[in-house]
Symmetry: C2
Subunit: 136 residues, 2 copies
DNA sequence: GTGACTGCAAATCATTTGCAGTTCG
DNA sequence: CGAACTGCAAATGATTTGCAGTCAC
């Protein structure tokens, strides 16, 4: 894998945010500093880097894939209304993670994905009920 | 919600299989008995019935949504190679489920989705390595 | 030099939607 | 009858791909 300005910018941007952006969001963010970068390039590099294990492609529900530059083991909470994803403090699930891994052996599984669902700050505030634009 | 032949056929078919089919797979299966049904109708009804809580739309990874006619609480194992989904025997995770629900309170979450990843029977057999058509 | 990479545009895939005609209650 | 529903075809949205030119090593 070669070293290119685009790839480095993508990785740097992804690592600098906590928002688990989609490819498209990342593209928008990147264009500020690098106006000629193309969406295709962003997709290609994210795919490539997640194959290489440099970034993580989240297996979230919702149609758009989200990416995470933080490779440490941790779980996510996804807002069912707007789709935003936030981290669960690492450690919170340590005990549970261990127990799950034990069961995985019997089931011949080698990994798992645990996603919690809970409204984000913004969407809880909008208590105007909330049947408008739900995802999933 | 009206009662229509199409909707009943969809529900019956979904309940009769253990495969967690995609809308498209269901469409193919249904055409045998009901050759004029349209894919749009299958999508519309699955969405409608999952809203109504009659069927479950799975939050699996992978681009195509999968549906489950079994409403009982249980988890799934997804084959990372072919995307097939199978059930984990109910009960297996009871203890873990309870523990997760306790943590959910603190995190202001109201549900969670746990998906295990493990090769299905067919794909494990194909030990011709397996880098061909992986999903995710 | 040449293989990896880029921007761009067109293609693909899953899903959704508009519409005109049907069916259910 | 009027609302809910259907088949069909066209539209949408996310992601992928082909291509011709460019850059890294």
């Amino acid at each position: 894998m070669n070293r290119t300005a685009q790839r480095e910018a993508i990785l740097k941007e992804l690592r600098s945010v906590k928002s688990h952006p989609t490819a498209d969001e990342l593209y928008t963010m990147l264009r500020v500093k690098m106006p000629t970068i193309s969406l295709g390039t962003v997709y290609r590099n994210l795919e490539q880097m997640s194959q290489a294990g440099i970034v993580r492609k989240l297996e979230t529900a919702g149609k758009q894939k989200r990416f995470d530059g933080d490779l440490s083991e941790h779980h996510h909470v996804r807002c069912p209304v707007c789709g935003a994803v936030r981290d669960v403090s690492p450690g919170t699930f340590d005990r549970i993670d261990r127990e799950i891994r034990v069961l995985m052996r019997d089931l011949q599984c080698d990994s798992f994905y645990l996603e919690l669902s809970g409204k984000c700050r913004v969407c809880s505030r909008n208590k105007d009920q909330g049947g408008e634009n739900a995802e999933t």
